[in-house]
C-alpha cells in the first residue's frame, strides 16, 4: 500500500513541470433538456397531420354539349331532401330503394347499380339531387358510385317535373 502511494506521488512530482491538466469527470444533468425534447416530441406528434385530405374527382360534360342517350341506357337516380332514393331506367315509373337507415339504403343502391351496370354495360347514371338535400347526401351517393366503379355518370339539377314524377310536389 505504502509503496504504491509513494510511487504515485513520485509520478505526480515527475510530471509537475509539464502541468498536465487534471481530468475532471464532468457530469451535466441532462434531465431538463430531455424533458424539453420530449415535450417538443409530443407537441409535434399531436399537431402533425399525417393524412392529406382525400378528393373525389368529377368530370362533367361542358355546358354546351348535348349528348343523345338512348332511353334504355339511362338510369335516373333522384334523391329527395329526406334521403329517399328513387330510381328508374328510361321512362319507367320510379321505384324507391328500401332501407331502414341511410347506410342500408346506400348499400342497396350500390348493389342495384352494380347489377344494372353488369346487365347493361352502356348504362349511364344520371343523378338528380334535390336542392334542399344536404351536400353529404350527394357525396355519399357519389361515393357509392365510386366504390362500385361506375364512371359514367352525370349530375343534373332536380326540376319541378322531376319532383312531380316522384310525387314530392
Amino acid at each position: 500500500m505504502a509503496e504504491v502511494q509513494t510511487s504515485e506521488s513520485k509520478g505526480k512530482q515527475k510530471h509537475a513541470g509539464k502541468k498536465k491538466k487534471k481530468r475532471i469527470a464532468i457530469r451535466i444533468d441532462m434531465t431538463p433538456m430531455v424533458d424539453v425534447a420530449f415535450l417538443l416530441l409530443t407537441f409535434f406528434m399531436l399537431t402533425t397531420t399525417m393524412n392529406k385530405p382525400q378528393t373525389m374527382e368529377i368530370n362533367l360534360p361542358p355546358a354546351e354539349t348535348k349528348a343523345e342517350v338512348a332511353e334504355s341506357n339511362l338510369l335516373t337516380l333522384r334523391i329527395t331532401d329526406d334521403f329517399r332514393i328513387f330510381w328508374n331506367i328510361g321512362t319507367e315509373k320510379p321505384t324507391t330503394i328500401e332501407g331502414a337507415n341511410k347506410k342500408e339504403k346506400l348499400v342497396a343502391l350500390g348493389k342495384l347499380l352494380k347489377d344494372r351496370n353488369r346487365a347493361n354495360p352502356k348504362l349511364i347514371t344520371l343523378i338528380k339531387v334535390d336542392g334542399k338535400a344536404k351536400y353529404i347526401d350527394m357525396v355519399d351517393v357519389m361515393d357509392e358510385l365510386n366504390i362500385n366503379d361506375i364512371t359514367r355518370f352525370s349530375l343534373a339539377p332536380m326540376l319541378d317535373e322531376d319532383k312531380k314524377i316522384i310525387g314530392t310536389l
Binding site: F38, Q54, T55, K134, Y135, V139, D143, N146
Partner: protein, 151 residues
Amino acid sequence: MAKAKRVGVKIDMTPMVDVGFLLLTFFMLTTQFKPQEVAEVILPSSHSVFKLPDSDVMSVTVDKTGNVYLGFDAQPMREAIFGPAGKLKAGMQVELKDLGRLMREARIRNPKLRTVIKGDRESDYAVIQNVMEILQKENITRFNLVTDLER
C-alpha cells in the same frame, strides 16, 4: 418481519432518450403546418383515395350557412385577384355572380390551376349545385370534391 431492503434502481435512460430525439427530429422535419382555413367546414367523408394536389390549387369553399369563399394556395395569386388586402388571407368571401369572373382571371394567370370544392357536409346541395353550374359555364369540367377518409 424483515423490512425489504430499498435498492437504488438506476436505469440507463440513454437509449430511450436517443430514440426520443430521433422521433423528435423526424416529426420536426416532416411536419407541415395546416394551412389556414377560410371558413370552418366539416368535410364529408368518402372512400376515395385521390390525394389533394400540393400546389396550383384553387378552392371554392362553401360553409354551413351557404357562404361561398374563393381561395388560392399561392400568395401572389391571392394578391393579384383580391388585392393587397387578401394577400395574407387564405381566401375571400365572394358573391356567386363574381365567382365565374374571378376564376376566369385566375385561370388566365395560371392555366395549371386545379379546382377543388370544399363543402361543409351540412350545407345545402343547392349552393354546391350553383357552384358546379358556374364551373361548368367556365369550362372547368374536371374538378375535385375534398373529402375526409371514411373510418
